[in-house]
């Protein structure tokens, strides 16, 4: 049976690991990621300013992970051309995340799918809460609200045949207050590909709440305190104890 996944998402500014939310640079952890033996997957995001995205310092980070972690690695942040995508894949990365570029240039996304395979492309979608029942979709790192009906846009994204969908809650991001279950329930039915949820995972109960949903394949954590071997092991033990089907290797 396919296991649910616990994914670690790391954000980098010009090649240096950053925490989310307040973005205080933190150098201490980077070298400790060599053996994330209990993470199921790693996401590396370049959060540098646009002109500094996907430069050598970040590419070196990717190379470091490819050489040291024999785990699936996904890369995102500013991939808006086929050339950039190829550069990332050529390093040995399995999957890339795209977000705004599909909104501005869907033909590129189609081209990426045809070239690199649909299972290699993850479409990330950023949601911002208007009230308890309504959400807006944003692009450009949460700066631009899209001028389309949510369902129209989501159905359009679904029709492109991307490999996975990453639902991200801007409000919950970095807050550690739990995933936005309401958001997930509202929109996960729009897609028939695996769905990853990000934003708000603070404690293990939060991960249980989200991974318990049939529609959800994976949960992502950006919480730096989860990035230790014992922490992830404890998380998986807790989830398995609560009947979530997870991979657990001693």
């Amino acid at each position: 049976m396919l296991k649910k996944r616990l994914i670690i998402s790391l954000t980098f500014n010009e090649g240096v690991l950053f925490r989310t939310k307040k973005f205080v640079p933190d150098y201490r952890y980077t070298k400790n990621f060599i053996d994330l033996w209990n993470a199921d997957e790693i996401i590396l995001i370049d959060v540098s300013k646009n002109k500094n995205k996907l430069k050598d310092n970040f590419l070196d980070v990717i190379k470091f992970f490819i050489e040291n972690c024999h785990l699936p690695i996904t890369v995102g942040g500013g991939i808006n051309s086929k050339k950039k995508a190829k550069k990332i894949f050529d390093l040995g990365v399995e999957k890339i995340i795209i977000n705004s570029s599909t909104f501005y240039n869907p033909d590129l996304t189609i081209d990426l799918i045809n070239t690199f395979g649909s299972s290699s492309i993850i479409q990330s979608i950023d949601f911002k809460k208007i009230n308890n029942f309504k959400y807006s979709i944003y692009v450009d790192n949460g700066k631009t609200k899209i001028d389309l009906n949510n369902n129209d846009y989501l159905n359009f994204l679904s029709s492109l045949n991307v490999g996975e969908i990453l639902l991200n809650s801007i409000d919950q991001d970095g807050g550690l207050m739990g995933f936005d279950l309401n958001l997930v329930n509202k929109y996960s039915g729009n897609f028939n590909v695996p769905i990853i949820v990000q934003g708000g995972g603070g404690n293990w109960q939060h991960f249980l709440d989200i991974l318990r949903l049939d529609n959800i394949s994976a949960a992502c954590t950006q919480n730096i305190y989860h990035f230790t071997e014992t922490s992830l092991k404890a998380a998986k033990k807790f989830l398995i104890l609560n009947k979530i089907n997870m991979r657990y290797d001693d």
Binding site: M1, W37, F89, G92, E94, N114, T115, G117, S118, S119
Partner: protein, 205 residues
Amino acid sequence: MIGVINTGIGNVPSVCSALKKINCKFILCSSHSDLDRAKKIILPGVGSYKTFYENIKKKKFFHKIFERVNNGTPILGICLGFHALFESSEEFGLYDGFKFLKGKVKNIKSLNISQRVPHVGWNNCDITQQSILFDNITQNANFYFTHSFTPVNVQEKYIISTVEYGKKLVVAVQNNNILGVQFHPEKSQKVGLQILNNFVKNFNA
């Protein structure tokens, strides 16, 4: 010396870094003369079969690999390299495989399962037949998968492992010197490195 075919796409560097980790001598094959030095072949691939196929055709590897394998050189196909062992693949068109094994590669959706496609993540392998490839691997060990296509109508006698995903998917095969795995050993941590180790160090056709 292991020859890793430089398919120009996907997971080649990851396969190389996994081989480094297990202290295996390898050569990244970009030309026929590189390939001539290889005693065994690893054919990696992640992404789209169309691109994969066009790249190995372009570099004139297709015939060369075919010849070597027919003459008994062991080959391990990974993901798209696994698909290439069969007759054809329907990913973005209809493309030839090496036809080393009977079977056609089709979209998992065509199996009419309710599961989401692609099949992505860790799944436990049911080892259905003994093979050196699975030496020191426990039954139901988890491997990492990411694929939308799967071989169908594979001859039972060559299947060495399956996974459950709505239906049983064929995920590892062996016919003498020809081996292939759907999962990514280079991305499956300890068990994956063990698979590569079994192929490069212990396997003799």
